[in-house]
């Protein structure tokens, strides 16, 4: 809870507290509730404030989707007061329209290409924080190979944090993660007939 919180137990792994503290984290935000991506972009705020290079990889295409976050993070990067933010749109292959999945030509190819870019950036240590937004969907649909993703993440060099968002995160991804939060929908205005609105949904 507190930033300076005491760990609940000290592991017998031969590492100092600082070495453990400085470990790169694999973070997953999953579940059917809201806030998965929003919280990931909140982490991007913190990363920017730390002066980190932040890479956002957006695995969905939509006219409205993430435009607020993209505008804000680009504006932040432009201030020069913190880190950099590089925004990659990897999801030209698919989008949500009226809650229905809409596929472009060769969506699997576009997703695989997106992942290949991430793998290259991880190998090159391009960023200190990676937001892989909605990556769970192409993983679930088999467009990106889960085993390869897990292998690349496990072998990533240096100190690179990775946040993956989306529903139905595969169990093996949760096993590999250091920090997993499930966002659960308790109540949502769409349940009582309200439609999404700007500033809240996008």
């Amino acid at each position: 809870m507190a930033p300076q919180g005491q760990p609940e137990q000290v592991p017998d792994d031969g590492l100092t507290t600082r070495q453990r503290r400085d470990r790169p984290l694999l973070i997953v935000h999953t579940g059917t509730g809201k806030g998965k991506s929003t919280a990931a972009f909140g982490l991007a705020l913190r990363g920017w404030a730390q002066g980190w290079p932040v890479g956002v990889f957006q695995f969905v295409k939509s006219a409205k989707w993430r435009i607020g976050e993209e505008k804000a993070l680009r504006a932040l990067a432009d201030t020069g007061q913190g880190g950099t933010v590089t925004w990659h749109k990897m999801g030209s292959g698919w989008s949500w329209v009226q809650r229905r999945l809409e596929l472009a030509e060769d969506p699997a190819g576009a997703a695989a290409e997106g992942w290949a870019q991430i793998a290259r950036d991880l190998a090159a240590q391009t960023y200190q924080l990676y937001v892989l937004d909605e990556l769970t969907y192409p993983l679930r649909w088999g467009w990106i190979d889960l085993d390869e993703v897990l292998a690349v993440l496990a072998a990533r060099p240096g100190h690179q944090h990775v946040v993956i968002t989306g529903r139905d995160a595969p169990a093996a991804l949760l096993d590999a993660a250091d920090l997993v939060t499930e966002m659960t929908k308790v109540k949502h205005p769409m349940d009582v007939g309200q439609k999404g609105q700007r500033g809240i949904e996008w």
Copy 2:
């Protein structure tokens, strides 16, 4: 899920879709998992991108707490490309130190004063989005009267969205909310002895 999602049912309330769409929302992020506040600050990003005046009311004091978000939102506001962000520190009365609650002199008075400011701003329609960060704690501790909060929120004029974060949100607050997400901890590095680290926890 999609920004343009179809409502699951249409209520018999005599309102047009646009009137329902434009309703001000009371949003609660609760639960023991991470991401409650982070997602609220992500909403602040969206609000800023919409050009809204955003008010943040921080109900906890800490040297590290929210400094990244504060730096980022202040920098965004300074760009002049979106809305404004006003950051209020209302929690001079308490803080978390090493996961223990640390109280200053008259914490209840400070919290009550903080709430009075919010009530004034709601009445004056000062902001379009209010982030009431960690408000659930002073509510739980009785420093701020829950019934008064509910009455003020229910009677707020105009089109003001309110996001309240914190563990153990009172049931009556959840009843009053339009959108509730529970963040559940599935796995956390502190469980295996890892301490919080910069860029992730603050």
